[in-house]
Structure formats: C-alpha cells, structure tokens
Amino acid sequence: MKKTVRVRYFAMLREQRGLDEERVATEAATAGELYEELRKRHRFTLPADRLRVAINDDFGSWATAVRDGDALVFLPPVAGG
C-alpha cells in the first residue's frame, strides 16, 4: 500500500542526499525496507547496520511498520562530545 512519509537527513546523509528533508511516496512496509529503497536510489554509502532509525522523534527499530504520515530520520553514527 502506497503511503507518504517525511524523511529528514543529518550530517553525512544530508550531504549525500543534498537535502535537509523530503516527502517520500513508498510501498516499504518497514523502516528497514524504506532505508534500503532510499540507499539504492541515492547511493548512500552507510549500510543500515551502521545506522539507527528514529520514528516520530523517538528511537525505533528496523522492523517498525511505516505508516502514512510518519516522520523518519536515519541516524548516522553519532559523534558528540
């Protein structure tokens, strides 16, 4: 089923995508499927096992179902401090 989600990008992913955020129409069932779809489309260099995912401003898992209207962020390896 087609749904539309909002994806925000930070750090390396923001630079590789060339955008801060976008709306994406997708048939991906899970957050993991959505990342793979975007990784192939935009040639992101980071594999999913190096990332975490946030859904609606909290940590989620790759198996979390994607629903219409969700806001997702794929988090590159963090490096604060």
Partner: protein, 154 residues
Amino acid sequence: MDFKLTDKPIDGAALMAGLRDTRAGACVAFEGRVRGESGGRAVTALDYEAYAPLAEKEGERILSEAREKFGVTGAVCAHRTGSLALGETAVWVAVAAGHRDAAFKACRYIIDETKARVPIWKREHYADGATEWVSCATRAGTAGGGAGGGKNAG
C-alpha cells in the same frame, strides 16, 4: 530542561551556579574542548549538527539515569551546535552530590553516554582542506570506531 543544545558559547560558571544546594558537598565538572589534532591530522575547526528533538529527549534520559544511579542532587549538560574554533568549549557536564565519589562517577557516566547515544554529529576540518564526518567513514582503516569513537573534543 537540564540538557541543552546551544549555538552560543557555553557559560560553565552559570551552569555550576545553578547546582548550588546545601545538601551537595561536591561539584564535579567536565569540559570538552576542540583539539587541534585528530588521529594524527591537524584540525583547524569543527562543526556540530544535532537532531534537536531527539537529542534533547535522549540527553534528559541520560541525566535522569545519572540522578537515579548515583543519587546526585543536580546534573546538567550543555552541548554546542554550529561551527567551533580550536580551544572552544564543545560540551560541558556538571554534577552536584552529597560526596565526591557519586559526583565523579555521575559526571563520567553522563559524558560517556552522551557521546555514545545522543544524536549529534561532528565534522572535522583539516589543515589540508579536507573535511570528514567523524565515525562515518566506510573504508577499512579510516572508521572512527563504534560507540564513543568520536575523535575530537570531549
């Protein structure tokens, strides 16, 4: 909010003053500064970028965990965003507790967990003109190295 992101210089003394409490006999602070060297390369500047809503949420969780684990009377953390020059304060943690042991342990816990869990990213600018997102390298031998693998500052 005791965990703060800011694009302005961090005023550590003001954060410490907010921890005054007559139950607290110890106050420990940690200041992380921008270092001019990283993995053998000369660094000229750093940029920090944060996913603010989740960074603040996760930062508050870490402070709550520290209060619960170590029984401290107060704990604060401030982290910079934006462009920083060498020597500038990137992160500041301060903890007040009844005695020094809890204060030292809680301070260490907060900085370690912040580096490993809070969605903040760091880009190093090198003297040769190159830039790199720390911990994001994908070629073998250049990776920053997992949790807490941030190379510069704190």
